[in-house]
């Protein structure tokens, strides 16, 4: 905004440096590289194009793109992928617009009109054909799945289960908005109103940023991150404008016997009182906002998720340190080159704390590979053993919450493993419907589907669980998360042997047995 206001190269270069910092930290920079061209386009459409915008945008685009291509993950994407094409297009449009303005000042009106129309027509035809050829031959790659699902939210649900399974990718509810923002949701329209009242170049940027980020935050919960700065800015604009207008009405001068009557505005009764009321109201809102924020941070955003705690029946606190226990066991008791197979949620944790090689991690970069792991988890032991030999796995790790009542365990995530496993060619034999009862329910007790009761994930989670009493008054093998007694107890494992189970059975590690010495 500063570079747009001043039109100086210095601020534009600083802006490009800040953009480079953003590119190197998060993939969400794509939003920025589309928002800034959109802003320039809006300014062009409302007739506010000037040499300052021209200087600012050209400098930012050139320097910013060259800097962003230094990051190896981005590489040549800015000239190849559709997500960056808008910036390139607006850059070309900028040059043309400035050139047209220059020519217009030199030519006479008649000549100019002819030249203008013919060039516009030719330019439009050329650029359209280039774009069409580029997309058709594949030189310009189409929108990647992650960003396409922002434009069409049902795309991920129907086509790419991995993207749909991440809980932060779900659309946002009103309570998520209110929980994170409280008062800001009410001040946001007020701030927008004040911006629309006084339209300037900078205000238009804020309006566009606000509107686009509200839409994107509505599509995906984790994009609330992108919404937060602009919410604060717009609410700040709202609060300050309100206070501005009302502070002027405050009259704190002493009561003077000789106050002239003509100062009193008869159409505005109680001017002073109303102004005091408004100022007081806004202050009260701001104070309650701080209370809300501190409460939310202490309750929801402060607890680490690697060490869990719960309240026991008598009020004392129980600490579940099972994750670290298991990872350190892996670190100290397995060979250095051991390979661990687990679901991708735990990839980074295992790499960092157990220092062992894993197959898939949170980057979820290779969909086919993750799908293979999903197929292994969802198949019977023999089929899974083939996959595990193929992937050269030594240990398998699962998270099980049935003893403690921890509900984010692998059985609850299992349906996603089935969906992702069945989404590639080699997993076509895995169908989600096989894992439900004939009535369509997902059950782990005796009524559960036999495919589910014999798959690898089930056996790994519930091995030896059939002998354990978990809750008073309930039979052995009672799963406290699904609230049911498990259907398949007292089975043995053929291809795995149990290596380690943590204190509260949260993490279970199994060793993959080697092939038999003699052929079967």
């Amino acid at each position: 905004i500063k570079s747009v206001k001043t039109g100086s190269l210095f601020w534009s270069c600083l802006c490009a440096l800040a953009y480079f910092y953003m590119v190197s930290s998060w993939g969400g920079y794509v939003f920025l590289i589309n928002l800034i061209p959109l802003h320039v386009l809006a300014l062009m459409l409302t007739g506010r194009f000037s040499h300052r915008i021209y200087v600012a945008y050209s400098a930012v685009y050139c320097i910013g793109t060259i800097l962003s291509m230094q990051i190896s993950f981005v590489g040549f994407q800015p000239v190849q992928s559709s997500e960056h094409m808008a910036a390139l297009g607006v850059f070309g449009l900028c040059q043309m617009h400035a050139f047209i303005d220059y020519v217009r000042s030199k030519l006479s009106v008649e000549q100019f009109n002819i030249l203008f129309r013919s060039i516009v027509l030719m330019g439009a035809v050329v650029s359209l054909s280039v774009a069409a050829i580029g997309t058709a031959t594949g030189k310009i790659s189409p929108w990647t799945g992650r960003f396409y699902s922002l434009l069409d939210p049902s795309y991920a649900k129907n086509n790419i289960p991995i993207i749909a399974s991440v809980s932060e990718h779900q659309p946002t509810t009103w309570s998520s908005f209110y929980f994170d923002l409280q008062m800001l949701t009410i001040m946001f329209p007020a701030g927008l109103y004040f911006c629309f009242n006084r339209l300037t170049d900078a205000n238009i940027f804020i309006i566009m940023y606000g509107v686009t980020s509200i839409y994107f935050a509505g599509v995906m919960v984790r994009l609330m991150l992108v919404l937060a700065p602009v919410m604060c800015i717009l609410s700040g604009i709202g609060v300050s404008s309100t206070l501005n207008t009302y502070m002027k009405n405050l009259d704190v001068s002493r009561k003077d016997k000789k106050t002239s009557k003509k100062n009193v505005d008869h159409t505005y009764p109680f001017k002073n009182e109303v102004a005091t009321g408004v100022v007081f109201l806004v202050t009260a809102f701001l104070i309650t906002y701080t209370f809300h924020c501190t409460w939310v941070t202490s309750e929801a955003y402060s607890s680490p998720s690697i060490v869990l705690s719960a309240r026991a029946g008598d009020g004392g606190r129980i600490i579940f340190d099972d994750f670290r226990e298991a990872y350190y066991w892996l670190r100290h008791n397995t060979p250095e080159d051991a390979k661990v197979m687990s679901w991708w949620d735990y990839g980074y944790q295992i790499t960092a704390m157990a220092n062992r090689t894993i197959l898939v991690d949170n980057n979820t970069w290779n969909n086919t590979h993750i799908s293979r792991v999903g197929q292994a988890m969802a198949s019977t032991e023999d089929k899974a053993y083939e996959i595990m030999r193929e992937l050269d796995v030594n240990y398998v790790l699962v998270i099980f919450g049935g003893l403690t009542g921890y509900s984010s365990d692998d059985i609850n995530k299992f349906l996603w493993m089935v969906r992702i496993g069945g989404s590639t060619d080699r997993g076509a034999h895995i169908k989600e419907a096989d894992y439900y009862t004939p009535q369509g329910e997902f059950r782990i007790d005796k009524e559960g589907s036999p495919t589910l009761l014999n798959c690898l994930m089930y056996k790994m989670c519930y091995y030896r669980f059939g002998e354990v009493y978990t809750e008073g008054g309930k039979p052995t093998g009672y799963d406290r998360v699904r609230n049911a007694e498990i259907g398949n107890k007292n089975f043995d494992l053929d291809v795995l042997e149990e290596a380690y189970t943590t204190e509260h059975w949260l993490v279970r590690i199994y060793k993959v047995k080697d092939l038999d010495n003699r052929g079967a």
């Binding site: 779900q170 659309p171 946002t172 309570s175 946001f188 509505g218 919960v221 709202g238 207008t245």
Partner: protein, 148 residues
Amino acid sequence: MEAIFSIPFTVLEVPNLKLKRPGWVKQPSAMVMFSMVLFSYFLVTGGIIYDVIVEPPSIGSTTDERGNSKPVAFMPYRVNGQYIMEGLASSFLFTIGGLGFVILDRTNHSMPRLNRILLISVGFISILISFFMCRVFMRMKLPGYLMA
């Protein structure tokens, strides 16, 4: 040069079109844009995208001890789930609160006395109602809200 350009036109005939941009199409004013943005804000914060993807029922229901089913307005204990009606009701409150501030700003222009009194009171009431109702809604959803 002219001779080369006129070759196609010995075969083709230029149609006699008279195209004109219709007069009623013009750039919308700022306030019209603002009202469209406000309407989209109402829809988005009501969780309409969540409704379209997840398709929750419009009102939930529970059965009590005697087997009668009672309607449940708010999906309890979860911040990341909602019913359609509760989403629309809350976003309505957000918008009313925002409009309250807009009204309060408008009252500073010149206008007759009665209008001014009425508008100030409407503005105040809408802001207060929206703020406190939102707190109540949140407490109904998360019973432990703002209590340690």
